[in-house]
């Protein structure tokens, strides 16, 4: 699997490339600036890009902007954002095109490399992975009017885990229920959010979006 790594700190970039190589990824390019990232993405068209949000030249959200621009030119290009902090605002902007293949994780998550690699694979497969911290913040908000308010407690838990990028199997394990029960919940969620039964993965993304927009 081809990966482009964009990270301006040498130690982290080096660590990431080693980690990914160790897990069988091929490093197409490792860049340290936002314009370099955009060029590498358009040139290599990797299966997934691991991108730091804050990068030169602006040291603002340059990495995010470069990734968004790349996705505008290559729709659905899977991008996993890494950052020292997570902002719902950025998660929303990444998900806005409803194409899926989006991840947004704290850099801390790199510590647990299995989860991290799973997340990369989910994103590469077109799934959505949001950092638990983003999800926790969402949970912290009061339920209000709208489709999300119609969800039951269990359904909401399932949606939270869905937003974190877990598969039905993982969700079943986490909640100590059968996979069948989880799939029943997801179907109910999609129905309540008014999402037609077409592409399952896309529906998951839309559900998460609905969750974010609530």
């Amino acid at each position: 699997m081809q990966v482009v790594v964009a990270e301006d700190l040498f130690l982290l970039r080096d660590g990431l490339t080693r980690l990914l190589s160790a897990h069988g990824f091929q490093i197409a390019a490792a860049v340290d600036t936002a314009p370099g990232l955009l060029r590498a993405l358009l040139e290599h068209r990797p299966d997934v890009a691991v991108v730091d949000v804050r990068m030169p030249p602006g040291f603002g959200d340059d990495g995010l902007q470069a990734a968004l621009e790349a996705r505008r030119q290559v729709p659905g290009l899977p991008v996993l954002l890494l950052s020292q902090y997570v902002e719902q605002l950025y998660a929303r902007e990444m998900l806005a095109d409803q194409m899926g293949g989006v991840g947004y994780l704290l850099k801390d998550r790199v510590f647990t490399d299995e989860q991290f690699v799973d997340a990369i694979r989910t994103v590469a497969a077109g799934g959505t992975v949001l950092d638990p911290e983003v999800v926790t913040k969402l949970v912290g908000r009061r339920s209000r009017n709208g489709p999300i308010a119609r969800l039951s407690g269990r359904e909401r838990e399932v949606l939270e885990l869905m937003a974190e990028g877990r598969s039905n199997t993982a969700i079943a394990q986490q909640l100590f229920v059968t996979e069948k029960a989880v799939s029943k919940h997801t179907t109910s969620i999609f129905a309540k959010l008014g999402l037609a039964a077409c592409q399952d993965d896309n529906r998951r993304v839309l559900a998460v979006l609905a969750y974010l927009n609530s």
């Binding site: 968004l68 850099k107 801390d108 908000r141």
Partner: protein, 578 residues
């Protein structure tokens, strides 16, 4: 003679001591007293002595700075004058004595048929005159009839002895008294000479003092001249009123008032000059209108004076009109130079007051800003010390232990490694919080509007946003405004029980306006909570203000205004979004 010299020396010593002690002004009193001796004791000489005393006391006690100038200029003149007067009196007396002596030798007696009636305060009584006549009687060969009085006339041929009825006006009784004692005469000459000598001695010193005074006053005069002190004109302009209204108590009072105003409030005097000129001009025009021939002119008006012109006909009234026009023109010319200039000066003064207030406000806000910055640094230091730093130390210790344990007990080492990972994650999480508290990353990345949007997303309440901010602001302003909104939002969530919050941000005419309104129970008071007070101070650093409207029962509206400029048009993407 010896006695006289001793007396003179005594007088001199006393004088010199007084002079040393009280300054030259002290001489005023004896000089004035001498005047009284020369001219007789009557109302005005007594008044002079009193005035001298008063002046002396005043000069000594109050006007210390003017003491020398006031006295030294006055004294020599007075002394020289008094000395000359005294000498002249003595000379005329000497002539009288000569005549007297001559008449005595010729057994010529001057007989006044009856006593001179007392003529007032200063006139010697009959007893004194009697004594004088007795002393005259002691002279050899004088045959003075008892009860008769001898006198000398000072008017007319001086040495003509007047007999019979003498007109009271020409009699100088004191000359009689002095003239009858040679001692008195000599004393008078000596005193006069003394006065002259003193006056001459004082004159150069007085001149030096005068020069010193001029030097001291000169800068003030120079300032006067530069300022264009039109106030001096007030007195002559007021005197113009005399020609119209005549010398009356109130016109004189007006002139005195004008003099006082000119001295005391020169600026007011300058302001009054054009006004008075215009009033006179208007009066002049009224005068002219009275003399205009026509049906309205019922009878010939009274001739009146207007300045240099006596208005008694239509022709002269035209001249008065010309004069009034000149007055009006002069007043109009003066107006911008006096009233206008002073108004401008006053406006400048107002500006200065404003500046002083501004300086004070800047000083206060700078102090607040410095205090806040120091407190913030202390907080960060404490957070780092107690949080991330401690965790990193623990992490290092864990890793060291892990290194030792690894060969012996891999299981325990694994547990330790898990703990180390957790510790590092916690340290990172704390650092994240700290960084967010110092300068929120979204704010750094994208500016105020996005940061507030992110803040709204993280808030548990539904927040409506209405942001119109076409560019970035300077980092300190963005930060202050961000934390202000955060504080207002936190208050709304924690205290108000609001169901929704509305935030409006707009920038217009160099003013950033932020409103945070909620539909809660109200009762927010910046005076009680430290949060809003802190926000107020922080905004104050940028001349910003905070207004809270929060009546009990709600709703609450917090409005903030910060003067600031936009840095650049918004660029949401460095790659261009189009």
């Amino acid at each position: 003679m010896v006695v006289m010299w001793m007396f003179m020396i005594l007088v001199w010593r006393v004088l010199s001591r007084v002079l040393r002690r009280y300054g030259r002004w002290a001489l005023m009193v004896p000089v004035a007293a001498m005047g009284a001796a020369v001219f007789g004791l009557n109302v005005w000489t007594a008044a002079t002595v009193l005035l001298a005393l008063l002046l002396a006391v005043l000069l000594a006690l109050v006007l210390v700075g003017w003491r020398q100038a006031g006295t030294s200029g006055l004294l020599p003149v007075t002394m020289l004058g008094a000395g000359i007067c005294g000498l002249w009196a003595a000379a005329s007396m000497a002539r009288s004595w000569a005549t007297a002596g001559f008449s005595v030798w010729n057994a010529f007696t001057v007989v006044v048929p009856r006593p001179i009636p007392p003529t007032g305060f200063g006139s010697p009584g009959p007893a004194k005159l009697r004594a004088a006549s007795q002393s005259a009687a002691k002279l050899p060969a004088v045959t003075a009839a008892p009860g008769r009085f001898v006198t000398f006339a000072r008017s007319g041929p001086p040495w003509r002895v007047v007999t019979g009825r003498i007109p009271r006006a020409v009699v100088r009784p004191h000359v009689v008294i002095l003239g009858h004692s040679l001692w008195w005469g000599r004393l008078l000459i000596l005193g006069s000479l003394l006065l002259l000598a003193l006056g001459l001695w004082l004159s150069p010193r007085a001149l030096a003092d005068l020069r010193a005074l001029i030097r001291r006053v000169a800068p003030r005069l120079e300032g006067w001249r530069r300022e264009g002190n039109w106030g001096i004109l007030l007195v002559p302009v007021t005197c113009f009123g005399l020609t119209i209204f005549g010398v009356r108590p109130w016109t004189v009072a007006a002139i005195v008032a004008a003099i006082i105003i000119t001295i005391r409030w020169p600026r007011l005097a300058a302001d009054l000059v054009p006004l008075v000129l215009v009033v006179f001009a208007v009066y002049g025009f009224m005068l002219v209108s009275r003399w205009v021939p026509g049906p309205r002119m019922l009878a010939t008006p009274q001739p009146t004076w207007f300045g240099a012109i006596q208005v008694d006909s239509s022709q002269t009234s035209l001249l008065a009109g010309v004069e009034a026009s000149a007055l009006l023109a002069f007043g109009a010319w003066l107006f911008p130079r006096t009233v206008g200039a002073h108004a401008r000066a006053r406006a400048t003064t107002g500006h200065e007051v404003e500046l002083a207030g501004r300086v004070q406000r800047l000083t206060e806000t700078r102090d607040h800003a410095l205090d806040a910055a120091a407190a913030e640094l202390r907080r960060i230091e404490r957070d780092l010390h107690d949080g991330a730093q401690t965790r990193l130390v623990a992490l290092g210790m864990n890793l060291r232990a892990l290194e030792r344990m690894l060969p012996a007990s891999p299981e325990a080492a694994r547990a330790l490694a898990t703990e180390a990972i957790e510790t590092s994650a916690r340290a990172l999480s704390e650092l994240r919080l700290l960084v967010r508290g110092i300068y929120p990353p979204v704010l750094a990345d994208r500016g105020l509007s996005h940061a507030v949007r992110a803040l709204a997303l993280d808030t548990a309440l539904p927040v409506e946003l209405d942001v119109d901010l076409p560019g970035r602001l300077t980092a300190p302003v963005e930060s202050a405004c961000y934390f202000a909104v955060a504080e207002a939002l936190a208050n709304a969530v924690k205290h108000s029980g609001a169901r929704r919050v509305h935030i409006r941000i707009e920038h217009a005419d160099g003013l950033l306006r932020i409103e945070v309104a909620d539909d809660g129970t109200g009762g927010a008071d910046p005076a009680r909570g430290t949060g809003l007070r802190g926000v107020e101070r922080r905004l104050g650093t940028f001349d910003g203000i905070l207004a809270v409207s929060s009546p009990p029962g709600g709703p609450t509206m917090i409005a903030m205004e910060v003067p600031c400029r936009l840095l650049s048009p918004k660029t949401s993407s460095c790659f261009g979004t189009g």
